[in-house]
């Protein structure tokens, strides 16, 4: 069972999946847990503070979350570790999901 923490931060929704891997095993749950909550949102920050690694299914879930937001809404990634960062830049999804520069409130 995947747990996800939701927090409000100055108009943005901060979503923190509490899982060590953002992969195919949790992607359906992540999608189901987060997509309904981001409808109509213009800014969502996904904090990967707990996530050590990810796979393409996990990234596809992020795309699904972005598509569930308001048109033109922005999804930012916070606290991405080096391995997740490497995957984001290899797939060039980092151009779609900019890094969040705010203080890391989603950190444990």
């Amino acid at each position: 069972m995947l747990h996800v923490r939701f927090e409000e931060r100055r108009g943005a929704l901060v979503v923190t999946p509490l899982a060590p891997r953002l992969d195919a095993a949790v992607a359906p749950e992540l999608r189901d847990a987060v997509c309904p909550s981001v409808a109509g949102r213009r800014l969502v920050v996904v904090s990967l503070a707990h996530v050590r690694s990810a796979d393409a299914s996990g990234l596809a879930a992020l795309v699904a979350i972005q598509q569930a937001m308001a048109p033109g809404g922005e999804l930012r990634i916070a606290n991405a570790g080096p391995r997740v960062q490497a995957l984001l830049s290899a797939t060039r999804l980092d151009e779609l999901f900019p890094a969040d520069r705010e203080p890391a409130e989603g950190a444990p």
């Binding site: 060590p20 891997r21 195919a24 095993a25 992607a27 359906p28 999608r31 690694s53 796979d55 393409a56 299914s57 990234l59 596809a60 795309v63 699904a64 972005q66 598509q67 048109p71 033109g72 809404g73 922005e74 999804l75 290899a90 797939t91 060039r92 999804l93 151009e95 779609l96 900019p98």
Partner: protein, 615 residues
């Protein structure tokens, strides 16, 4: 659908099932000797062909009918290019080395998981309008698949028909039932829905009528020990194709030659390999495609996925999907962003535009395309960063039902042809930077083959022009003509014979020519930019005959017969040289006619009832 048809589907499925897995011999092992024999003969044939064409263009064009002559020579040249590509695409056979079935997931991934576990496999059975009982048989066979180690298999019925009866069947069989509100993307969209709502490491894709044999996973999972293997394709076998009668038997009983006939038949088979008379009247037997074409693509990592009977690594599917999505977003944003000089401002703008663009694009694990399978394959092969590999497993591990009549056959062929031509003309995948030269040859050969009407039609019409109009594409059918043509034809036949040893090819050759009308329609359809059709290939025999499909062929056959007659009558008062021309044209007309005839017969004769004498 009537009850009778439903009953027939059930009966056919039963017949197919009762025949079991061993009904089809595995293809013989490839060998270096075979490769060498084929490569020598193919090289010889191609050199002789080039020599013939050089003579055609420089010394044989008919000045009295230059336009016609050039058109036919051009068609011959295009056909020759097709032969070159085909010979290259079957250049060598190298089957993959078998590997022991992996025990746990860490045996098949590059980076081991901290907590090891059994491999998880999702089996997707896609259906739209097939009968519930047909799908039930596929589900039951999937449940019977065995594996030597613990394995977590989840079977999903992906029903785009949203039928309560199908849901009830899934519940009875204890498998998962998934459906969705729309049919967007047809089969590809249906599979995407399944992928989004499942989590297995590996994914088996089955059509409604794909029956897995118990060894399917045990025989294919070993290949995934190589973490770069993206998918394994197994040959498709139709369980209900009429196997015909072996030549010795046929000569002995049908031709009433008794023992002598049997002996002649055996001797002939020793030279030619197994010959089955009357087999596969519809030309649906896919052995020529799988045992020759796909098998020859394995060594250079170009075997493509065929939509059913394949098993995929989920990470490969999703990796390709995500990369492609990011690429499409970028290609929408770049034209605008590149106009902004200031880097900071440009980054700001592209970010805003990317979010917008992403909203309007779909992340499709399976390309949103009629030929979704070949397109997904070429994208994964062409992905230069991950270097995904494919494996073609040479032995059949599934059985399925063939298209049941000429109409179903023609729908399926039209779908393949228009889909592949659309890819070739609109998204030319040969430009993908990650493809190797040999992969380009392989995919190029596949796409080029669908342009065949450009040469088969002129070559079929040329003899008619001679019979009715007396014009010839060649100045003189003298000894020079035969001396140039004959060695090429003989060497080509020998090369084909060696390259396709043991696999019946004649039907697929016939249908290559007989497909002229379908392929022409597909070509016109795609060039005109008309929308592609996503018709599901019917698995049930239509209740009426599909005569319309064969009308152009029947007309052409009639014209050929009349032409030979007219030509023969004119022969009496023709100069001596024309006899040669007549013989040459009659020869080609007979060849062409014998290729067209089976399709006409197949359309005319209604199929036997299920489990009939062919079974």
């Amino acid at each position: 659908m009537t009850a009778a048809l439903r009953e027939e589907a059930r009966a056919r499925a039963r017949t197919a099932a009762s025949r079991g897995g061993g009904w089809e011999p595995a293809p013989g092992p490839g060998s270096q000797a075979r490769d060498l024999a084929f490569q020598s003969l193919a090289t010889l044939a191609l050199v002789l062909g080039a020599w013939y064409l050089a003579w055609r263009w420089t010394s044989s064009l008919n000045p009295d009918a230059l336009g016609f002559s050039v058109a036919v020579a051009a068609a011959e040249t295009l056909a020759y290019v097709g032969s070159v590509l085909f010979f290259l695409s079957i250049w060598r056979v190298a089957d993959p080395a078998p590997a022991a079935p992996p025990r746990t997931v860490n045996d098949i991934v590059a980076e081991p998981l901290p907590e090891d576990r059994p491999i998880e496999v999702d089996v997707f059975v896609t259906t739209y309008d097939e009968p519930v009982e047909l799908v039930r048989l596929s589900v039951r066979d999937a449940k019977r698949v065995r594996y030597p180690h613990p394995l977590a298999v989840t079977i999903h019925v992906l029903d785009d028909g949203r039928r309560p009866a199908m849901a009830a069947m899934a519940a009875e069989e204890g498998v998962r039932y998934l459906t969705r509100r729309t049919n967007a993307g047809f089969k590809a969209g249906n599979l995407r829905n399944g992928l989004e709502r499942s989590r297995g490491d590996l994914v088996v894709v089955c059509d409604a009528d794909t029956r897995l044999l118990p060894g399917f996973l045990a025989d294919t999972l070993g290949y995934f020990r190589d973490p770069s293997v993206a998918w394994v394709q197994t040959p498709q076998r139709f369980a209900d194709v009429d196997p015909g009668m072996r030549l010795p038997e046929w000569l002995a009983s049908r031709a009433r030659l008794g023992r002598a006939g049997r002996a002649i038949g055996r001797a002939a088979e020793r030279v030619l390999g197994p010959v089955a008379v009357g087999a596969d009247p519809l030309g649906t037997d896919p052995r020529a495609f799988y045992d020759v074409v796909q098998r020859s693509r394995n060594w250079c990592n170009a075997a493509f996925c065929c939509g059913a009977g394949s098993i995929h690594r989920r990470e490969a599917i999703m990796d390709a999907a995500v990369r492609r999505f990011a690429h499409e977003v970028r290609s929408r944003v770049e034209p605008f962003a590149s106009k902004v000089k200031d880097p900071a401002l440009r980054a700001e703008l592209s970010r805003a535009l990317s979010s917008q663009a992403a909203r309007h694009l779909e992340l499709m694990p399976y390309a949103f395309h009629v030929s979704e399978d070949i397109y997904t394959s070429v994208l994964l092969h062409g992905d230069g960063t991950r270097r995904w590999r494919s494996v073609y497993h040479p032995r059949a591990l599934t059985r399925m039902l063939s298209p049941q009549d000429t109409l179903a056959w023609s729908i399926q062929r039209f779908k393949y042809a228009s889909g592949t031509l659309d890819i070739a003309l609109r998204r030319n995948p040969l430009r993908l930077p990650g493809l190797s030269a040999w992969q380009r040859v392989m995919y190029g050969a596949t796409m080029y083959a669908y342009l065949a009407p450009l040469w088969t039609i002129p070559l079929m019409l040329a003899p008619l022009a001679f019979f009715f109009g007396g014009v010839t594409p060649i100045r003189a059918y003298g000894p020079a003509f035969w001396a140039h043509l004959f060695p090429f034809v003989v060497a080509s036949r020998l090369a084909l014979w060696a390259g396709t040893w043991g696999v019946p090819m004649w039907r697929s050759e016939q249908y290559h020519l007989a497909g002229f009308w379908l392929n022409l329609r597909a070509l016109v359809h795609v060039l005109a930019g008309r929308p592609l059709r996503f018709n599901v290939t019917p698995k049930l025999r239509a209740s009426r005959r599909a005569l319309g499909v064969a009308v152009p062929h029947a007309v052409l056959l009639a014209a050929m017969a009349a032409g030979v007659l007219v030509g023969a009558l004119r022969l009496g008062r023709a100069p001596a040289g024309e006899v040669n021309a007549f013989v040459a044209n009659v020869f080609w007309t007979f060849h062409n006619g014998s290729c067209l005839l089976p399709l006409v017969l197949a359309a005319w004769i209604p199929r036997r009832r299920a489990g009939g004498s062919g079974a």
